[in-house]
Symmetry: C2
Amino acid sequence: MTDTAPEGDGGPTDGRPDTKELILDAAERLFAARSYSSVSLRELTAAAGVNLAAVNYHFGSKDALLTAVFKRGAVALNRERARLLREAEERAGGTPPVRDILEALIAPAVRWSVGTGRLALYNQFTAVARTEGPPEMRELLEKDVSHLQRFVLALARALPHLPQEEVYWRLHFSLGVLHSLYTDLSRLETLSGGLCTPEDSEAMTRRAIDFATAGFEAR
Amino acid sequence: MTDTAPEGDGGPTDGRPDTKELILDAAERLFAARSYSSVSLRELTAAAGVNLAAVNYHFGSKDALLTAVFKRGAVALNRERARLLREAEERAGGTPPVRDILEALIAPAVRWSVGTGRLALYNQFTAVARTEGPPEMRELLEKDVSHLQRFVLALARALPHLPQEEVYWRLHFSLGVLHSLYTDLSRLETLSGGLCTPEDSEAMTRRAIDFATAGFEAR
DNA sequence: CCTAGTTTCAAACGCTTGTTTGTGTCAATC
DNA sequence: GATTGACACAAACAAGCGTTTGAAACTAGG
């Protein structure tokens, strides 16, 4: 959307495969599906259809690739979240209801991962990055935290009776609910005997938002 | 369960260090704190204070060790969950309230991990095992799902107006809330400026149960 | 056509991985 | 006291890892 790859797939106008993007896509998918350290660069580059040395040429190292993947995802996600929150605030002419705030928090994460057709899921990757990533990645994660402060503020305004401490905890739990939209979905499918599937992501997202909203407004 | 370790902890009567248990403890801690594939057997055996070859001697392989760690944890956790659920049902003389059911689901997982002093946390490990584990581990995980059916049943009885599909989804979300008690706590601590800490695990657990209960009883 | 710069590629580098081997040690059995 | 089986240990194994190399293959400007 910024400068590169006007087409999502093999560009018809431009025959160039855009190696860098191919690597990022494959890395995002594989790192999320498995884990950072269990995916070898040989497997990754084979999946991306590029040469083994391309990763070190374009990114410098495997760690730097992880950072690049995260950065690309975090920027896009945070931008969309901020946009939705701003829109909700304008729509409400002040403090929006809890549900709208949580929708701005949750919906982009799901929509972004499903809409682009990427199976790789951002939050699962975050967990991996947090525990396995290089030091520089830790800083990036801390920076990423700061953008959540806007949501804390909005939620505290929407629920003025709630102690500040409680706002933080419930936001944390809500992110746990969001997280469950990425992980262990196969367990849910097994448990429900195929009744529940992530197929209808719109409905799935609505359910999660309903659940988190009720949890937030408890008491 | 066949022959070894009649005592759960370090045998007091016997000065023997019990290598097998030492390995299991270290593996549980390290696999959960980082990830399965990022922990080498050299690091693991060094942390456990045993010889490198001990893992392959006692368990056969690194994969088999992962299976053993999971099995030990799953058995203990499921037993405690089932016990609490049964007690709640007896106490209520039938169908217990949602809150008591969720407490039986959530509390043991937290208490078990904190009470034993193990920093390693069961659910975080489960996620790793699910994506990285050997095929045999997948079967174990499927078996582990079946014990959740008891909770589905109890919750469906407690909320007869709720469609079956919704029960599954909300249980899934509740497990997401539980999951958040294990992961990303450092993010919460950063976000809240040190206001929220997992220090008081009792209060933390209560908060999570409150949140999940409200989410379950929505509408 | 030549040149300069960028990107691709096969091959190899050093190193770490999980696993195996052979020997040593200790305790119990006969 | 010799024998047996279980376990600990250091050393080595092949395989795979991330990374580097140097030379081809390309693109574009003069």
